[in-house]
Subunit: 193 residues, 2 copies
Amino acid sequence: MIDEVVRFIIEIDKLKAVTRKVKPLGVDRYENPAEHSWQIALLAWSLAPFAAAPVDINRVIKLLLVHDIGEIDTGDTMAFVTEGVAERKQAEREAVGRIFGMAAPHARDEMLDLWVEFEDESTAEARLAHAADRAMPVLLNLANNGQSWREHGITYERVVARVGPQINAGCPALWAHVKSRLDAAQQSGWFGI
Amino acid sequence: MIDEVVRFIIEIDKLKAVTRKVKPLGVDRYENPAEHSWQIALLAWSLAPFAAAPVDINRVIKLLLVHDIGEIDTGDTMAFVTEGVAERKQAEREAVGRIFGMAAPHARDEMLDLWVEFEDESTAEARLAHAADRAMPVLLNLANNGQSWREHGITYERVVARVGPQINAGCPALWAHVKSRLDAAQQSGWFGI
């Protein structure tokens, strides 16, 4: 019913208050997962012809619209933290159970299934979605003098190891582009050592 | 090519710096059209079974992802300003010509066509998209003690006249919900007089 739809859409408003590690260009605040999800939906849409395998772009977009909603309860988990991954994933799984449980009946299972599909990375759609999700903060950092890498003392090797496999699995041409620019950024001294 | 995709996605990052009139709940900043677009894509998706006519929800979502991109050049046009509408629409049309012209070739025409479809309101998809777009700031205000209505001295009658026809045309059940809550908010004195 409409009451459920409204409660759900007000609940997910909280995602706008979660902070990520990268700043939008020219803005002195950290971006949030809501605007990030919008941007990577458009990135994946733009990348569709370059995907590693043919994709249903509508499902890729839906995957990306829901993929970060668990962060309402867990917060953004820094992409470069490697400890406690299983615990964080479990907490996020519980969060989406709670939040998608508030959605209208027709959307509840669909949204949860899409969230699981994204996490599992077992479809071409989920792989393109991950490529867009991993690439976007790197593209922003490349346009931003390495802002979040500098703030956290992140090394070139760590970035390549963290984002390379997933970008390459979903969109090899995008990884070729990103890798060559990361190499140039390393020459410019934008990374920790 | 990938270079074009990257230039486009960096260009549209600017939408995160545009400010609307409503604040996200519990956050002391104005929301931007990027996070707003994400939220109303999820709202429309949730509303699909209640739409005035059957819709292709994937196209509704795409309409909403692109509908505000012209505001990168024009800024958000206050929903309650009634003067200069034709001039603002013309400026926004020029803006999307410029911005979607930067998109990858396969996406360029599709995005521009979707933007025009949204503006024309001639399809069931565009009407549901408009219903979500008009309803969301009202739902936030209803959850926020009428924050943007109070800041701008907006009257109850103005809100009803501004959002009612489009919400009702796209999703009558949503309008019934919103209208009854607006009536209650008027009793609570949240509007200008």
